[in-house]
Amino acid sequence: MRKVVIPTQLTESKIPFFLACTLVITAGPVFVVFPQSPAAFFTFLVSLLVLYKMSIPVPLKLVGAVISLGIIMPSVGSENGYYMDVIIQVGIYVALAVGLNIVVGFAGLLDLGYVAFYAAGAYAYAIFATSQASNFIPAAWATFPVSGNWFWLFLLVGLVVGAITGVLLGFPVLRLRGDYLAIVTLGFGEIIRIVLNNLDKPINITNGPKGLTPIQPPALFGMDLSEPIHYYFIVLSIIILIIVVAKRLNASRIGRAWAAIREDELAARSMGINLLKMKLLAFASGASFAGVMGVVFAAKQTFIDPSSFSFMESIGILAMVILGGMGSVAGAVIGAVAVLVLQLQILKELSEYLGQLSAAGVLSIPSQLDPAKYERMIFGLILIAMCIFRPQGIIPAKRQLVRLRERVRDWRAKREGGEDVDPA
């Protein structure tokens, strides 16, 4: 099959291409030399984006990604735990955004309660990895907390719990359309959070608002993996897996069924697509990603309480998906990175910098105007600006028309040649 090269402006002239190469090659080493510099961190992230967008052979890109994420980031992270933590948080949200993107972007079902699945996964691990479970499971059966070796099994448990919760929500409500579905998922998310907040009586299962702590860190061959660098690699491997799965799903027959449902439900049904099955599948696969990440989040935080799973959290993830570009996996990834780096790093560094200027007497800022207080306000402005200037998202989903048309042509050619091929 021929490869369709989509021209971008980067390749149209040689100078930007040269600049891009320079950036990609130098950003990493500079970051290693100046691990404390926020600017170096920022350019490092941009260089990854540029690398992704550059028109160079895929293996070269992979090499670049492996060097950046596998060598440079961990080595800087051991020097500066803050950026490591930002990157781990980013990673967790990348997985969540990719998961939500399946539901919202691929299948077109607006879900405002996505964080419920994340909560389900987190609590699934937290209850058993603290002494909490001994409240309702007799000591004769098992003792709690379970050891960190179980973490790996609980990744699967989180996946299953997430998927089951997704199906449970999906069954009754998938008859609903559009905004009615949105409000029901919102209600469902709130129900889960309130129930988690209140299940400390009559039987104490979740410990209510006091939360669960200390949650066992993962362990491998008897060694505790509680350092940021361990979580970094755990999160990184899960993300790679999730991205591959999401991409494969989207390119498969299922993905095309989702796209059909998204574009026109009625037409999809008349084409013989089983709506209920496909929608449930979207909900379940999106939710299972969140379940897995919930387990990782619980282990990383060592403490969870219901306040981490509020409605605002769902909205935040939705913002990542939409800003990144609905329906595109790369978009979801970049949306998550952009939103979180903005929130956790750029705005914080900026207000820190302004605060320092003020302390040094360069600027005089009254305490009512303390920049640390207005990070959210600036974030709001940036959200509006991004919506206005890039309504289709940072990396919009490419319509796959070209490829499909080609496939049909290939298929026809082969059929004429006497071969019997399935068009899917």
């Binding site: 350019t43 540029v50 933590d85 209140n198």
Partner: protein, 403 residues
Amino acid sequence: MRGKGGLMALLLVVALVTLLAVGCGGGATEPNDGGQALEVIKVASVSPLSGPQAGMGEPIKLGAQMALEEQKAEFEALGFKLELSPQDDQADPKVGVTVAQKLIADKNVLVVVGHLNSGVAIPASEVYVKDNLCQVSPANTATAITDRELPIVNRIVARDDAQGPAGADFATNDLGAKKVFVIHDKTTYGQGVADEFKKQVEANGVQVVGYEGITAGESDFSAVLNAVAAAKPDVVYFGGMYPEGSLLAKQMKEKDIAAKFIGPDGMYDPKVIEIAGEAAIGVYCTSVAGDVTLTEVGRAWADRYQAKFGQAPGSFAAYGYDATNVALEAIKQAIAANGGEKPSRLQVTEVARAIQDFKGVATDVTFNVRGDNKDAKVFIYEFTEMKFPAPIVKEIVAGDYLK
């Protein structure tokens, strides 16, 4: 600029320029260690500065800022430049951990004064402990904070299981309660202290006629108050903060419920009078903050605070101020022990735990082995008129409740 390549090209150029700046400037934020420049010591204050809980978090920062500015000259004489690093944790555990990592990475930060929410403080302190960064908490009352026995965690406020039982004993012995109704706001703090209250009144042989949760952030509590009216208690205890507590007191009065109202230190704030109006009269609060206007020092402090920030200091401002002063005291002692050199984080942590008989404006401080404040007293205030601070009606040594 609307084109797809346009944004990419812009990003590219911005990135390249910053890269150039980093390369040439040697990293914009790298401290340039000049020969005669003073060494920097930072104290961080971490509390929610934005979002719905900013009203509680901001006074902590202001208190810290005030304490720091007052001691600036003293530290300069010792050869150090004192800086405050105010951080916003947005009352979000996730952000709290990131902020903690950020503070860990900044080697000049020697003490953290924070957080407001126990739910944020617990995961954050798991980060601080990795690099022995000392934490002095101005507000966390949850028992789990110090029960984990981390060497770095200290708090100047009373634990839930001191403040709750103190309120309970007051309700039974002094108010002669026979039936109490317990309401809480379903938060770590509110439910924590309400549960301890409930335990103690039950142990005292008082009947608990109701135990209900409300949602923090709501304004209409008539549903719960109808249940209160039906149960006819002598005393209503509310575990939670002043916005909801004041509204509860106000709406209770509107419903002609005559029961006495007791709240924890989250209720001891000048705003109670403003919000509840006449209904504030007769409200009791337990608090570890002493009446600052009773002492010369305290009055002067309150006046300075009022002059500086244009508002009357509530409990959280006083806690923030005291916690920061405890932190600075620890740093000073550590400097002295280190022969005038900048101490390490571990040294500060060790000195902080050993602090004895520190006199603050709101509370005296002596930490026990777990970092709980042995000297914390629980004061019972009663709003007898529309005036803040309200008079103290009883004083209980919280240490009596410490196990």
